[in-house]
Amino acid sequence: MSTVLRQHAEDLFAQELEELRKQDSDKRPPNWKLSPQSVVTYLVGGKLKNGFEVTPKYIGNRRLMEIAVATLTTDRALLLYGLPGTAKSWVSEHLAAGIAGDSAMIVQGTAGTSEEAIRYGWNYARLLAEGPSEKALVETPVMRAMKEGKIVRIEELTRIGADVQDTLITMLSEKTLPIPELNIEVQAVKGFNVIATANNRDKGVNELSSALKRRFNTVILPVPNSMEEEIDIVKRRVESFEKVMELPVEKPALQEIRRIVTMFRELRSGATLDGKTKIKVPTGTLSTAEAISVVNNGLAMAAYFGDGQLNAADLAAGIVGAVVKDPIQDKVVWQEYLETVVKPREDWKDIYRACKDLAI
């Protein structure tokens, strides 16, 4: 077993990618590892002709994935947009893994991301010693992806300052990266493309300029439609983490997952599932991703400090932590929810007591 904490998608699902490649009969765009159809299959899962089962990576609308893949075949850049925790980065990682077999070309967007992080930087020691030369260049993931014809992922595009964002325009429209200092340019090899992610909840984001917006096709990833879909997502992801984390615990009880998903859905939508009671909404987003991490957290608690069985007490701390992001406002919301919704539910007594014991 590998010793890295979290493997890249292309390593974790190497077998699936290999099987898909073998079974692939459709035409592949230049430099793509799989045909577009197979990429979609890789993302949404399915059974191959030889009976091999591909696990679904994205659980939701197949059409969205088709739009995403089709976008990349037209060498338009793809912008995945949505609330935090709607699997944007997850999808972009798997798209890159499926298409280019390499999901590691990544630029993390922050307010401090500079042009050097997107275009190229200089090795100043070399630059001073030898003068400007190609050797003195420090390549960025974007530049490497252009040279190798791969997919580069830009995480949190809207966090990057507007002026820096716009350096992408030339790369996206001219498919070239000029290096005026050396009077050369890097021309993108076929297969190069950009997948950016951005979330529409955070404040203080830099809106994309319309020039840049025009170069992206946008796919909005929605929050899960139904309770069952969300439970499915949490279950699958938690199980995959178990593998990665090597947690010595029984499979998480579906019951517990259902309860957490119910809680999160109720708090997110501001009403109980039966639609009868109105609830205040906390400041956090309470995404599916957070539900996943709460269950993981609970599993770890159960494994190392508990009896190996996932129970309410193991989950309580995680739930409270996820819900109460603002110590004053959210505390009120949480306590109201606990007293008015959780307490009356007959089979939720254990979780009510566990949360009550934490006494935040």
Partner: protein, 760 residues
């Protein structure tokens, strides 16, 4: 040779294939799935003024509400077949089961819900009956075509059919393929046999046999794909004839009416509806469009709505749609792919603009047109002519109008719309007018093909809008014998300029008023009549007539009112006071000395009558005091009298309540009223005061808290004379200090400083 062309109703591809096929095989007769009753109407199909979407409307002669529509769009295969036949001067006939039978069968109680289930798009009759609409709740039965679609690897049978048939350009053997497919389905699927469907197919076969008998050589049959196999495999003639024997029958009438795309879509509850008439029309007009033209349309719509959309956007959207089609293994992008591309490229994932797109382009609600000289009910003809003359076209989307009634055309339009409203044809709805004044009216107009039924039904009342409305109103007037109803009718009939019926209504009103012992009912009608008489002039209606009627009614009321005000319980008394309010308003508004005098005299009577309900007596006294008929001494006298200790406390309290009704603020501001009450209280000795205190408290309890507080303050501020408010300020002026301020004030006012007077 019989050619069976199985189609989907309103499929642009089917229409294209049919048109191509017909011009290739050159049949000598065309048989179309449709009601045989309407054969006569086929001659109008290629009239120059005939513009689809149109529909055949068939209704039961004696019961117009029982009606059925057969809509056709330009891209309906049936329409193309009919046009082909008319243009090439060959025979064309409808072959479906006559509506005369199906209506008669509907009337039989045996009809079950099963009937409604046969709404599979391809097999359903291409009709929409209004009485079918509630059936929408029945879960849509799995469409048998689904089996073919999933065999071909499609999730959705609609998408499958569209890509296999509607988007297909090449039409070699397409009908053979459809027939074979459906044949296999009908052979292998255990579908319930619905009697109505069997009857329909039997009748279709009967018509085909008839054509053969008449020695037609080359027969083209256009029918829903589902029926195709049943028409090519003819059973014995006798079986069909047995089936069709002795069917019940009703009398049917039919005509062409304009239809709308909105009503052609599913949303309207039309069984054989299509989701996207606008897109189908596009597809019909530009069958080879790969999405570019459509995207250009979308872009120009977006630009119209102020959204920046460049040519590059269009290009990228088309590319994405193509890529999506390729990914899904389709030969060309369909509407879904184009929509997804629009959403992703043009809208940045935001679906608000998509809703607009749906309304404007995908459904594209337009209305068709039928020639004016088509035989149709005279009333409808009259409405259409008037619409044309007044330039008020029937449109599928709503449109707002504002009329200036001082202009002749606008007045005529308004009259026309008012008449239609009276007839119950809800084409126009009056909307509120912003500006004041009575010469403006605003209306919102939206045509709905269903109104045709209403028109046909109301056609029994007359042949023109005027005569029909007039007679209909008279009919209503004669059947409803209450004053308020007549009064409302009158209010509506006056702006509709129905002089004859207004006369009748007036007569009726007069009769009822004379016979009516119920004063309250009479009083209720007064405000309406007053507003008619006052504002009627603008509309050139005979307001004088109303005036005289009103006068008569007012007199009647004045006579019997004092009686009516006695022996009322509290509830009835309060209701009466509201009517008093209206009456008083009316008397003031009319500004006719005699009426006003009569009214005041009545008030006097009510006020003086010891048997009047005390609340009303109090209120009447108050009104009289407002008219200054009771003032000063007399008023005070009345007051004391009503509040005297001999009167039962409850009665006194009620009187005071009536007197001060709703006048908390007035009491504060009207010094005269204030002093009456205040002076009365001041004259009371202590014992009496203690006695009436509860009564006072009760009357004042109706006022709001701030009103009561202010009243208290006012009472506290000392003996009330008219001048109390200003007096103190005059006394406390410090002249020396005031002088110092004067120069500044003068400067502010821009006056020269050294004015004569108090200058230094």
């Amino acid at each position: 040779m019989i050619h069976i062309l199985g189609i989907r109703h309103h499929g642009p591809g089917s229409a294209r294939h049919v048109a191509n096929f017909l011009s290739k095989v050159k049949p000598d007769i065309v048989l179309v799935e449709g009601p045989p009753e309407a054969d006569e109407l086929l001659q109008w199909v290629n009239h120059t003024d005939m513009q689809p979407p149109v529909a055949l409307l068939l209704h039961q002669s004696d019961e117009p509400q029982k009606a059925v529509f057969y809509p056709f769009a330009e891209f309906s295969p049936e329409w193309q077949a009919m046009r082909y036949a008319r243009e090439h001067n060959i025979h064309v006939r409808f072959m479906d089961l006559p509506v005369a039978h199906s209506f008669a069968l509907d009337n039989e109680p045996a009809t079950t819900a099963q009937e409604a289930e046969v709404e599979a798009v391809h097999g359903a009759a291409p009709t929409t009956a209004i009485n079918e609409l509630p059936n929408l709740d029945i879960p849509f039965k799995r469409n048998p075509m689904q089996h073919l679609a999933s065999a071909a690897g499609f999730e959705d049978e609609e998408a499958w059919w569209e890509h296999m048939v509607e988007y297909r350009l090449d039409n070699t053997e397409v009908f053979e393929a459809i027939q074979e497919g459906v044949h296999a389905l009908r052979e292998d699927l255990p579908l319930p046999e619905v009697k109505r469907e069997l009857l329909r197919e039997a009748h279709m076969r009967k018509v085909i046999r008839q054509a053969e008998k008449e020695m037609f050589q080359n027969i083209a049959v256009i029918c829903g794909a589902w029926h195709a196999p049943a028409l090519s495999n003819m059973p014995k003639q006798k079986e069909d004839n047995d089936l069709l024997k002795g069917l019940p029958k009703v009398k049917i009438e039919c005509t062409w009416i304009p239809w709308t795309y909105g009503r052609l879509s599913y949303d309207s509850g039309y069984g054989a509806g299509i989701p996207s008439p606008g897109w189908y029309e596009h597809n019909w007009k530009y069958p080879t469009d790969d999405g570019t033209r459509w995207m250009a349309k979308v872009a120009s719509l977006f630009r119209e709505k102020g959204m920046d959309t460049s040519v590059a956007h269009v290009m990228e959207a088309v590319r994405l749609a193509d890529a999506l089609a390729a990914l899904r293994g389709l030969s060309r992008p369909g509407l879904e792919e184009l929509n997804e591309a629009t959403l992703s490229v043009l809208c940045n994932g935001d679906d608000i603009m998509m809703q607009l797109l749906h309304k404007e382009l995908i459904v594209q609600d337009i209305i068709g047109q039928v020639p004016i000289d088509i035989p149709k009910p005279p009333l409808q003809l009259d409405i259409e002519k008037t619409q044309k003359r007044l330039r008020l076209p029937a449109s599928a989307d709503w449109k707002d109008y504002t009329f200036d009634l001082r202009k002749d055309t606008d007045l005529e339009r308004s009259i026309f719309l008012h008449r239609l409203l009276l007839l119950g044809i809800n084409w126009a709805h009056p909307t509120g007018v912003n500006s004041k004044g009575t010469f403006k009216e605003s209306w919102r107009l939206q045509w709905d093909p269903n109104m045709t039924i209403e028109i046909i039904e109301k056609g029994s009342w007359g042949n023109t809008v005027e005569s029909a409305t007039s007679k209909y109103v008279v009919h209503l007037a004669n059947t409803s014998a209450t004053l308020p109803v007549i009064c409302q009718l009158l209010e509506k009939a006056l702006p509709a300029a129905l002089h004859e019926s207004v006369d009748v209504l007036m007569q009726q009103l007069n009769n009822l008023a004379a016979a009516s012992g119920d004063v309250m009912q009479l009083m209720e009608t007064i405000p309406t009549l007053v507003s008619i008489s006052r504002y009627g002039n603008v509309r050139k209606t005979d307001a004088a007539m109303v005036s005289s009627l009103l006068q008569g009614m007012m007199t009647r009321i004045c006579i019997s009112l004092p009686q009516a005000c006695t022996a009322l319980n509290e509830e009835a008394a309060n209701a009466m006071i509201d009517l008093f309010f209206g009456m008083n308003d009316a008397a003031n508004t009319l500004q006719q000395a005699d009426i006003l005098a009569a009214w005041q005299a009545t008030l006097q009577q009510v006020a003086h009558n010891l048997n009047s309900s005390p609340v009303i007596a109090g209120y009447a006294t108050r009104l009289l005091s407002d008219y200054k008929i009771l003032a000063d001494e007399t008023l005070v006298q009345h007051f004391h009298f009503a509040m005297s200790t001999a009167t039962a406390p409850a009665v006194a309290a009620a009187w005071l309540e009536g007197f001060l009704r709703g006048s908390g603020t007035i009491l504060l501001l009207d010094e005269a009223l204030w002093s009456v009450v205040n002076n009365w209280v001041a004259t009371l000795d202590e014992d009496t005061f203690l006695q009436v205190l509860p009564l006072l408290r009760r009357s004042f309890a109706h006022y709001t808290q701030p009103e009561r507080r202010k009243l208290g303050e006012k009472a506290k501020s000392g003996p009330s004379t008219g001048k109390t408010v200003r007096m103190p300020s005059e006394e406390t002026i410090d002249e020396a200090r005031a002088m110092r301020g004067i120069p500044v004030v003068m400067q502010l006012l821009g006056l020269p400083l050294n004015t004569p007077g108090h200058a230094e």
